[in-house]
Amino acid sequence: MLRGFGAILVKELKELIRDPKILIGMIVLPLLMFPVLGLVLGYAVETAQEQAQQATLLVVNNDGGNWSQTFIDYLNNIGLKITVENNLTPQQIIDQGLLIQNNSTQFIEIPSGFSNNMSQHTSGNFEVFAMINSYGVFSGGGVFSDIGSSAITSIINSFNRIIAPNVLFTTQSTIIKGEIQEGIDPATLSGLMISQALALPITIMIMLTYSMQIAATSVAMEKEEKTLETLLTMPVDRFAILMGKLSSTIIVAGVAAITVLIGYNFMLSSVTIGIPTQTSIDLVSLGLVPSPFGYILLGISLFITLLSALALAVIMSAFAEDVRGAQSLIGYTYPIIFIPSLALIYLDFNTLPIALKAILYAIPYSHPVIASKVVVLGDYTTVILGIIYVAAFTVVIMYIASRLFATEKILTAKLRFKRKKTGN
């Protein structure tokens, strides 16, 4: 037995347990965070299923025969909300805005000759099959965004079981930015995009938390090493001290943001190369990688969010007496960084209720993740509005930070959990 081990262990445990910052950061926060994430995840699946069930399915009947009517009746009987349009090409459906009018993200086309093929098959000519063409709008949604197209496949399968096995087949196509991409299954595309949906939010989370630690440490180190008091009595503008500290971290963060984008771009190219040629899917030719302008906006969004996170870290570190205290305090911000990022991996932002959307919009750290999703679809307005919002938030945070540096609070501010303490 190691001599003295027990005494040291007990002393260390006492010190750790009696530090409320550690207790909250390591025990209370995970206890709160994971149930919240669980709720978000459950909600994501539920929302996607409800969307699929409640959405109006647009049916374009280009056949006009008996079997097409039977199929439509079947859809009605199983409780689907459907709207039927006659004699329109898929492109006309999109161009006339019928999907938006019906608040729908997918439609199926019963092509001309459908009833004839069905009749032949049911009369014994099993070499003839009938086709249903399914079209889904790609919204850059979450991990569960392919539930809609999967639902249509299962409806077709159940119709097959009622009539005769394997009489009906579907072709899957995806509508990307208003253009029909024939033969591309939204489910396959969704799977392909998961790598993108996961990689950038996780990288952003790591980058934000890491650079916040650096920024907080730079102020806390001055306190711990007792150099801050001397610096604050020098003939130098207090705002210059704050900006000097922020700028050095910003340079590091800026390099980090560029590195992330380079890595991200490389990853997207790799995904393109890695696709089996027979599926004929590649993200670049489908327009599912950001344009140069999109990359610039994404870079600005990342940078401005980093800036606001760093300013917040500096403010928080002012309330700590040493490096360990500052790092524990920074831990409190992790839920507001992690939850939006993880939620947006799983949720399709477009299908969220207004209240939840508002909460996610209000958290500045959501914006680069939102930007990474919408920039692919060419929705630059959302990104620009996000940048403006985060910039305004940053100005407020910077103002608070500069006020903190201008007064004695930078030395006297302490986060107090128990009784007040005062020094001489």
Partner: protein
């Protein structure tokens, strides 16, 4: 003679605790003035107010006629402050530390070099200035910091326990620097200490502080005569009713 510091009825409260309770004193230009008293008497709080780090709850403090509250930036141009537990940047060499600090006072590279050379002379650290501060002993670090506080020939140097925790030789070195530098460069010094021998050796005048109040003020000799004591420790004990 003009006043280097004029403090009038200074009160400082931290929540419900009154650290300074109506302190008033003046320091003449060129003096070495000492605030002495036990731990918790309010010495450091007073020095921090004069150094523009803390604001008084009430009362007025002026440094060479400038209000520390309203003209903090002007005050910072004429003072230097050496905190009791000050450190140097661990990963900068002594020379780099002095250069970093000197650049706040002058932008002229030639002048900066002169100031650092002056600091090198004061500190006596010679070749060790090239080493990183984290390799310095406590005494060496203090010498570096005292040199930093004096190198710009400030009008007022505020030194909190300048030789605290140093061994005999380093403490002797630091005291000699302060005494000689003031004489030769007409620097006013305000220092705090609870080492009565140090204070007696260095200060022209002192104020004895206890519980945020000045108990008595005068030259060390006059106080010893007045209270019929052999040294300032006895004076202090008598004043606070301990002896």
């Amino acid at each position: 003679m003009s006043l280097a510091v004029n403090a009038e009825l200074v009160v400082k409260e931290f929540g419900s605790i009154r650290a300074l309770d109506g302190l008033s004193f003046q320091i003449k230009s060129g003096e070495i003035y000492g605030l002495i008293g036990p731990n918790g008497a309010g010495k450091t709080t007073m020095l921090r107010i004069i150094s523009t780090l803390l604001l008084p709850t009430s009362g007025i403090v002026k440094v060479f006629g400038q209000n520390v509250e309203k003209k903090a930036a002007e005050v910072r141009k004429v003072i230097t402050y050496l905190p009791e537990e000050a450190g140097a940047y661990r990963n900068l060499s002594g020379w780099e530390y002095l250069e970093f600090m000197a650049k706040f006072n002058t932008k002229n590279p030639e002048k900066t070099k002169q100031v650092i050379n002056e600091a090198a002379k004061i500190s006596g650290l010679n070749e060790r200035l090239k080493d990183r501060a984290k390799t310095y002993s406590k005494g060496m670090k203090r010498r570096l910091l005292v040199a930093r506080a004096l190198m710009t020939k400030p009008k007022l140097a505020i030194l909190d326990e300048p030789a605290s925790g140093l061994d005999v030789l380093h403490a002797y070195y630091v005291r000699e620097i302060i005494k000689n530098y003031v004489k030769s460069h007409n620097v006013t010094v305000l220092l705090s200490s609870h080492n009565m021998l140090e204070v007696e050796y260095l200060c022209n005048r002192i104020a004895l502080l206890n519980k945020g109040k000045i108990m008595v003020e005068g030259s060390p000799q006059s106080l010893k005569t007045k209270y019929e004591c052999e040294n300032l420790e006895e004076v202090f004990a008598k004043v606070v009713g301990y002896a």
